[in-house]
Subunit: 197 residues, 2 copies
């Protein structure tokens, strides 16, 4: 359990019953005391996944890099911001999170950001806090340049296309519902709230 | 499997191996043929959850109703838009989805929307398409009025507070990272993209 979801402020983990585990996913039934009901330990199903780094990369022309990726749970391909999982052992290390963001951008889209152009962190978000601790660290990158024509990825990923979209194009895709994954919507929400788009 | 994630357009489900199930969560290892690699069936861990309805309810004064809810997987409470799960058997029925949205708004926040004020659908989104088919149907409600001072919820939920926030207040909470769940960020992204906020 990493710091972000560790017991604190009246939360007490009474028991953890492991139910399923593979290299990507762990499912436990966790019996927990909540601050609001200290006398009622409550059992809850929790799915654990590694945290992700998600990157909204702007080119010098102010366009955003998206990938179209096949998603097995949906039986469909979605246009999304590049993202990848962070090595769990190093999630407390900001440097590793930033490196993961840069690496995934390159591997998934073939774009790189100059070393002199730091990633701008937009904080984290939780994908579905009712049942999982999974969270994503959101970044904006600037001056992204395409250096490879193909994306590199493992057998579990199928990236079909890489394309740049203008901000008005992305806005239309979000308004129409074509853009429909939490990573992309969360970055866009933060960018809107911060006045970046 | 509901229509949204059913096999289509070259997707073929070869085999489903059930690994865990309880009333809220089902975990299967699914062997699937993807359109881009028709010769390579691929096994993938998929968590199934019921779809949710999520409501951004505006009062007549243009303020938004949020609830602060304890989330066991995070060992923390978050400010979120009211949301609740849709009866799986009826997810194809728009009327049921709208009714779920109204019911959850009332049960979680104590606010109701007049019958004559239809909910405005903002489409759906997927919370984490890399590992789950879970999705949320997003709505905007208008003219919300508080009719009960307390929220009603079951033992699995702990709603600590209900409060109205102005749009600039919510914008600041999103920009600062205080608002950090996908439901709230997804609704905000769609509302931004559509010019509602």
């Amino acid at each position: 359990m990493h710091k972000i979801t560790a017991d604190k402020d009246g939360w007490i983990t009474v028991r953890i019953d492991p139910k399923y585990e593979d290299p990507w996913t762990r499912l436990d039934v966790e019996t927990v005391i909540r601050p609001s009901r200290p006398d009622q330990p409550h059992a809850w199903t929790v799915v654990h996944r590694r945290a992700a780094a998600v990157v909204a990369a702007f080119t010098r022309e102010g366009r955003l890099v998206l990938i179209r990726q096949e998603r097995i749970p949906l039986r469909a391909a979605l246009w999304e911001f590049p993202a990848g999982q962070i090595d769990e052992a190093h999630e407390d290390d900001d440097r590793v999170i930033h490196e993961t963001a840069r690496r995934e951008l390159r591997e998934e889209s073939g774009y790189v950001v100059p070393d002199g152009s730091p990633l701008e962190p937009l904080g984290l978000f939780f994908t579905s806090p009712g049942f999982t601790d999974e969270h994503g660290y959101l970044f904006v990158a600037r001056d992204a340049v395409r250096v490879e024509s193909q994306s590199h990825h493992d057998a579990g990923e199928s990236i079909l296309e890489v394309r740049e979209f203008s901000v008005p194009e992305l806005r239309r895709m979000i308004a129409s519902g074509e853009s429909r994954d939490a990573n992309t919507l969360a970055v866009f929400a933060r960018m809107c709230a911060m006045g970046i788009v």
